[in-house]
């Protein structure tokens, strides 16, 4: 089971109930649970959306889209039923925060989804949890059963006259299914291939109905926002980046773990103070600041605020909050290769540039890493990645291209050091194994 850590700089909002047995519905109620949803019922749709807008809450799934605005895109009137879909497919390498929420505070996700439903006047909410998280799916199943047992879900919730059903749904292993439209396909029992957009999910989503899709952490933040008020939540963070988020510190750190820090917290501090500095007395080489798809930052580039806008300004992305710390004994070529291997394995295969591009980047990087690199390969890698960027059917292609471009751009000399004939400058350098492409 996931381990809890803590640091004095933490501001515990989402994690306020972690370690307190809140998966038990009674305990959750003792800890002010299901008050926010009742408030939301009182406030009504528009007031809820306004509160969320005021909170400056931005999506924790990766793209950082303002949540209140997303909700306001859902048409008021719709011939087809509307839905709320919680994205608990958490699969971005470096990210393991939704897991903690589902384990320690599952009702917060349910409550958040319910509030989102009230906000857009939907009567059904689905909570999709990745297949590997079976134990969390079981926790969620029990939580939903408890909620129904108390009459909090189903017909006429809290005596408000509002009907709201909440359902669980499990995945079966696919990163791409985390992409919002692919998630809908998956929930509809299909291959996780994304959909053509427009139309956007807010207008045509699950089973053709308008759908709000949010990350689990995003939704888990919502009850707190309703309870404390949007403005107060916004004040915790930086302008346009309200509140806190769970940062997943991993890699070469003394104290890796998931910490809840205010938006805009300094990355350098995060690494050296919260994370306890680089492990084994080594030096920092690079940081992947927001999950595997975000471009790498060098050791010189980390004195930045960790909010969506500041990281973007630094040429990377805040992404899903996975901060991967790389020490100076690590081979970047190998790291780049392992990253590409992942995207190649997870590409849904639908579009040419992503399917073929990830495969060729993987092939080239493999050969390169094994010592068969040619000087022109370095440019070819970059050329290929740049030609995938912005041209694939969905952002997975970008997710594969962006870090690759970053590695080549920022660590070119390390690539050059691998060129034919020259041994890899890093000691531990076994041949990287190859995950098979998906084929049965």
């Amino acid at each position: 089971m996931a381990y809890l850590v803590s640091h004095p700089d933490e501001v515990k909002v989402i994690s306020s109930r972690f370690g307190k047995g809140a998966a038990d519905i009674d305990r959750y109620l003792e800890l002010d649970g299901y008050k926010a949803v009742q408030m939301a019922l009182q406030m009504g749709s528009e007031a809820v959306i306004n509160e969320v807008k005021a909170s400056n809450l931005r999506g924790r799934g990766g793209a950082g889209f303002p949540t209140g605005m997303k909700w306001s895109f859902v048409p008021k009137e719709s011939a087809k039923p509307k839905y709320v879909l919680c994205n608990g497919d958490e699969s971005e390498p470096g990210t393991c925060k939704d897991r903690l929420i589902f384990e320690h505070d599952p009702h917060a996700v349910i409550e958040g989804a319910m509030i989102a439903a009230i906000a857009v006047n939907a009567h059904k909410a689905y909570i999709y949890i990745r297949g590997e998280y079976r134990y969390l799916l079981e926790i969620m199943q029990k939580s939903i059963a408890d909620v129904y047992a108390r009459g909090f879900a189903g017909k006429n919730i809290f005596g408000s006259g509002y009907d709201l059903d909440v359902y669980w749904h499990g995945g079966a292993g696919a990163y791409e299914v985390g992409e919002e439209s692919a998630l809908m396909e998956s929930l509809e029992g299909k291959r996780g291939v994304p959909r053509i957009r427009p139309p956007f999910p807010a207008v045509v989503g699950l089973w053709g109905g308008p759908t709000v899709i949010n990350n689990a952490e995003t939704l888990a933040s919502v009850p707190h926002i309703i309870m404390m008020g949007g403005q107060k939540y916004a004040d915790i963070g930086t302008p346009k980046n309200g509140g806190t988020r769970l940062f997943c510190l991993s890699g070469h750190l003394e104290k890796p773990g998931v910490y809840e820090l205010p938006m805009g917290y300094n990355l350098k501090k995060m690494i050296y103070e919260v994370g306890g500095g680089i492990s084994n007395g080594r030096k920092l080489k690079a940081v992947v600041p927001g999950g595997s798809s975000t471009p790498v930052l060098t050791a010189d580039e980390i004195d930045i605020a960790m909010d969506f806008d500041s990281v973007a300004k630094a040429g990377s992305m805040l992404g899903s909050g996975g901060v991967v710390v790389i020490d100076d004994a690590t081979c970047i070529v190998k790291f780049a290769l392992r990253t590409m291997q992942f995207y190649r394995h997870e590409s849904c295969g639908w579009c040419i540039p992503c399917r073929e591009g990830t495969d060729w980047l993987n092939k080239t990087l493999t050969r390169f890493h094994a010592g068969g690199g040619l000087a022109k390969d370095i440019d070819n890698i970059r050329y290929l990645a740049e030609n995938m960027l912005g041209r694939t059917f969905c952002p997975l292609g970008d997710a594969a291209a962006m870090p690759t471009i970053g590695f080549v751009k920022k660590f070119r000399e390390e690539f050059e050091a691998h060129l034919e004939g020259k041994p890899c400058p890093f000691e531990k350098h076994g041949a990287i194994s190859q995950l098979p492409v998906m084929s049965h």
Binding site: K190, S250, G251, R338, M438
Partner: protein, 161 residues
């Protein structure tokens, strides 16, 4: 083919969750696999029939998801993550260790006693507690080789019971 009572109950329950039948497909395939060890031809035909799908369509879906399989795995499927965070903290060595220890090739075959298979997997959401692996659905984290030995031993014992 007949499903177990438990699976039948699961199926009936899940059907009620969605406006379309086929929506149960992905999770239901996984539950079926949990019972049968893998998705057999008969199970595929049966599920296809129940959901008004062709067997081809069900196979299209199965082959998309990495957890679904149409061939047996060991009773305990040891899935070691080697993705970036685990890589940085020795995931590859853990995989290699498990492979040697169990004497099975990665992503191929089952150990002689039929108990174990070993799989290299992508990120399982244990990045802050790397290196990590899952044995079936159980997470094991902050692994060392010694810890892996212990864990595998405990499953071996369980299998003998």
């Amino acid at each position: 083919m007949n499903f177990s009572d438990q699976l039948e109950a699961r199926f009936a329950d899940m059907l009620g969750h969605y406006p379309t039948k086929r929506s149960v497909l992905v999770p239901f395939l996984l539950y079926t696999q949990d019972e049968l060890g893998y998705l057999t031809d008969e199970a595929i035909e049966e599920i296809a029939q129940r959901l008004d799908l062709t067997a081809l369509e069900v196979r299209n879906v199965i082959s998309y998801y990495s957890m679904l399989r149409t061939r047996p795995a060991g009773k305990y499927n040891v899935q070691v993550c080697t993705n970036i965070c685990c890589l940085l903290r020795g995931g590859e060595e853990i995989l290699e260790h498990a492979r040697k220890k169990l004497g099975v090739a990665v992503n191929k075959g089952i150990s002689e006693d039929g108990v174990f298979s070993v799989e290299e997997v992508e990120c399982i959401g244990a990045c802050s507690w790397a290196p990590a692996m899952q044995v079936n659905y159980d997470f094991h984290e902050n692994l060392t080789e010694a810890k892996v030995d212990e864990i595998l031993e405990s499953y071996r014992k369980k299998a003998q019971q």
